[in-house]
C-alpha cells in the first residue's frame, strides 16, 4: 500500500465519522435541490422545465459544499501534532495532501450522484448521449480536483481550524452569483457582469450543454482553462505553504 492510499483511507474514515461533514457535503446539496426545484421551482421563469435548468448548477453547488470539510480537516492536521509525526516518519509529503484531495473528490462524486439521482426523481430529463455524460463526469472530476487543491491551500494557510472553515465560505457562495439558480442576464447591474465572467458560469454552462446534448466549445474551453488555472494556483500555493509550516 502506498502512503497516499493509507492517507486516503484515514481521511475517508474521518469524513464518514463526522456527521457535520456528511451533512454539508452530501445531504445539504440534496436539500438545496428539493428547496429550489420542488418548493420554489414553479416561481422561476427560465424558459424551460426548472429542474432541467437547475440540475447542472446544483451539481456544482454540491462540489462546493463538500469543500468546507476539507479545509478544516487539513487545518486540523496542521495545527495538531500529527503532521509532525508524519514528517518525522518520512511519510511522503505529497501523500498527506493528495490524501485530502482524493478524499474530497470521492465525497464530491457521491454528492453529485445524490443530486443527479434526486433530479431524476423530480422529473429531470437529459438529451445527452453516452459521450456527453462522460464529458459531464470528466468536468465534475476536473472541477472537484481544482477546487480541492485550492481548498487544501486555504486550509494550510489558515492559522486556526475556525479560520479554515470560514475561508471556504466565498467558494460556497460563489455558485449563487453564477448562472446556477437563475440566468445571469436576469440579475441586477454589476452582479450580472460578475456572474457572466466568474469561473463557475462557464463550468455550469458546459455541464448544461452536455446534459442537453448540445455542448458549446467556447464554454468548454473556458471551463477547462479555469479549472486548470485554479488547480495550478491551488497546487503551488498548497505545496509552498506546506513546506513553510514546520
Amino acid at each position: 500500500m502506498t502512503d497516499s492510499v493509507i492517507m486516503l483511507r484515514r481521511n475517508a474514515k474521518h469524513v464518514a465519522r463526522n456527521p457535520t461533514t456528511v451533512f454539508n457535503a452530501v445531504i445539504f446539496p440534496v436539500v438545496i435541490m428539493l428547496m429550489f426545484v420542488y418548493v420554489l421551482g414553479d416561481a422561476f421563469d427560465v424558459g424551460e422545465n426548472y429542474v432541467d435548468y437547475a440540475t447542472p448548477g446544483i451539481m456544482l453547488l454540491a462540489i462546493c459544499y463538500g469543500l468546507s470539510g476539507t479545509s478544516t480537516a487539513v487545518s486540523s492536521d496542521m495545527t495538531k501534532g500529527i503532521i509532525n509525526r508524519f514528517k518525522v516518519m518520512d511519510v511522503s509529503r505529497g501523500a498527506v495532501l493528495t490524501g485530502h484531495v482524493t478524499t474530497t473528490i470521492a465525497t464530491n462524486l457521491i454528492a453529485v450522484a445524490a443530486v443527479v439521482g434526486t433530479a431524476f426523481a423530480l422529473g429531470f430529463r437529459s438529451s445527452g448521449g453516452f459521450l456527453d455524460w462522460l464529458g459531464v463526469l470528466g468536468l465534475v472530476l476536473l472541477t472537484s480536483f481544482a477546487t480541492a487543491w485550492l481548498t487544501v491551500a486555504l486550509g494550510l494557510a489558515a492559522k486556526t481550524v475556525e479560520a479554515a472553515g470560514i475561508a471556504t465560505v466565498p467558494l460556497i457562495m460563489l455558485p449563487f452569483f453564477s448562472s446556477a439558480i437563475v440566468p445571469a442576464d436576469k440579475m441586477g447591474p454589476g452582479i450580472k457582469q460578475f456572474a457572466e465572467y466568474q469561473p463557475f458560469t462557464p463550468i455550469i454552462e458546459t455541464l448544461r450543454g452536455l446534459l442537453d446534448g448540445t455542448p458549446q466549445t467556447g464554454d468548454a474551453i473556458a471551463a477547462v482553462a479555469w479549472c486548470a488555472g485554479i488547480a495550478l494556483v491551488g497546487y503551488l500555493w498548497a505545496t509552498a505553504t506546506f513546506k513553510k509550516r514546520a
Partner: protein, 312 residues
C-alpha cells in the same frame, strides 16, 4: 568507544530577530537518558525540532545515530521516534486504528501482534476501540508513545512527556521510560520538572534562554553548589549556646534558636551528630536535613528561581 547517539556542536537557531538557540554543544551516549532541563521558552522544543529534522538550524553541526542531519535527513528519520509536547494522535480514529495507521506507514511486520502487545503494555486495551477524542490526557500520551514505538526507533525524543499529567500517569510514564532504557534505547528527554530529570537522566543539561548553563550527571550538578547542611533547632538559648560551642563551624541564628551545621545528611554522620548532642545533654527541638536539590542548582546557575517550580 561506540558512536554517540547524538552529537551537537555550535547549534544556533533564530526566528527572525529572536535568537532561540545560541550555540548549543552536547553529546548523548548511546543507551542513556539525556535530559534537557529548562523553563518554558528556554528553547527545549526548538532543540527537539531541529534534532528531529523538523526545522533547519541556522548554524552548527548535528549528528544523530551517526548520520549528519543536513546531509542525510532520511537516515536520521529512520532511526528516531518523537513524542511531542502535544500528543500527535488522530482524534477521529480509535486507539487501535491509530496504531494500525503507524503499522501501515512503517510497513511493520506482524502488525496484529505488535498492536496487541503495545495496547497491553500501555494499559490501553480497554479504550482501544474508542475514538481517541474521548481519551484522558494520560491515555493520549501513552498512545502517542506507543505509536512512536511501532517504528522500533533506537533513539526516542520525548518533549515534555509528563507536562500536565497527574502524578500516577507521570509514574507510569517514568516506568515506561526506564523499560525502554533497559532495552537499549537512547532517550532525549526535555522537561521543566527538576525531579523528573533527577529521577531519570544519566546526564542533564540545563538550558536557559538558548544557552546551556551547565551539563553533567545529576550528582555533578548538585556538587556545583555549596553542600548540604543540617539545621538544628533548640528549645532555649542555653542549648543553642552549648551546641554552638560543641559544633564549631556551625552558623548560629539566635533569633530562631537554630544552628546550621555543614553535613551531607547521611544517616551515619547524622547519627554521630545526634549522639554528640545527646552525650552533652543538649536538647534539640527538631532536626531538618537540607541536601541541595536541582532547584538550588537552577538558582545558583541562573541567578533566578525556576519559574515553573515557583508557580507549581
Amino acid at each position: 568507544m561506540t558512536t554517540p547517539a547524538i552529537e551537537v556542536s555550535g547549534l544556533r537557531k533564530a526566528f527572525g530577530d529572536k535568537v532561540v538557540l545560541e550555540g548549543i554543544d552536547l553529546t548523548v551516549a548511546a543507551g542513556t537518558v539525556f535530559s534537557l532541563l529548562g523553563p518554558n521558552g528556554a528553547g527545549k522544543t526548538t532543540t527537539v525540532n531541529v534534532l528531529t529534522t523538523l526545522i533547519r538550524p541556522d548554524g552548527g553541526t548535528v549528528r544523530v545515530a551517526g548520520h549528519d542531519l543536513a546531509a542525510e535527513p532520511k537516515a536520521v528519520r529512520a532511526a528516531i521516534g518523537v513524542t511531542g509536547q502535544f500528543a500527535a494522535v488522530d482524534e477521529l480514529l480509535t486507539g487501535q486504528e491509530n496504531l494500525q495507521l503507524m503499522v501501515e506507514l512503517n510497513r511493520a511486520a506482524h502488525g496484529k501482534q505488535l498492536i496487541a502487545g503495545l495496547l497491553e503494555r500501555f494499559e490501553l486495551e480497554e479504550p482501544a476501540q474508542k475514538l481517541v477524542a474521548t481519551y484522558s490526557g494520560g491515555q493520549r500520551r501513552k498512545l502517542d508513545l506507543a505509536m512512536t514505538l511501532v517504528g522500533n526507533p533506537r533513539i526516542i525524543f520525548l518533549d515534555e512527556p509528563t507536562t500536565g499529567l497527574d502524578p500516577r500517569s507521570r509514574r507510569t510514564m517514568w516506568t515506561i521510560i526506564r523499560e525502554l532504557l533497559a532495552e537499549g534505547v537512547t532517550i532525549f528527554l526535555t522537561t521543566q520538572y527538576l525531579e523528573e530529570a533527577d529521577q531519570l537522566a544519566d546526564r542533564i543539561a540545563v538550558l536557559d534562554q538558548g544557552r546551556l548553563v551547565a551539563q553533567g550527571t545529576p550528582d555533578e550538578l548538585k556538587r556545583q553548589i555549596p553542600g548540604g547542611h543540617v539545621r538544628l533547632r533548640f528549645t532555649g538559648p542555653g542549648d543553642l549556646e552549648a551546641a554552638a560551642r560543641l559544633l564549631t563551624g556551625g552558623v548560629r541564628d539566635d533569633e530562631t534558636l537554630t544552628l546550621r551545621v555543614p553535613g551531607d545528611g547521611g544517616t551515619e554522620s547524622l547519627r554521630i551528630l545526634l549522639n554528640q548532642l545527646h552525650d552533652n545533654a543538649i536538647h534539640t527541638e527538631d532536626v531538618t536535613v537540607h541536601t541541595p536539590d536541582l532547584d538550588d542548582v537552577f538558582l545558583a546557575l541562573t541567578g533566578r528561581p525556576n519559574v515553573e517550580e515557583v508557580a507549581k
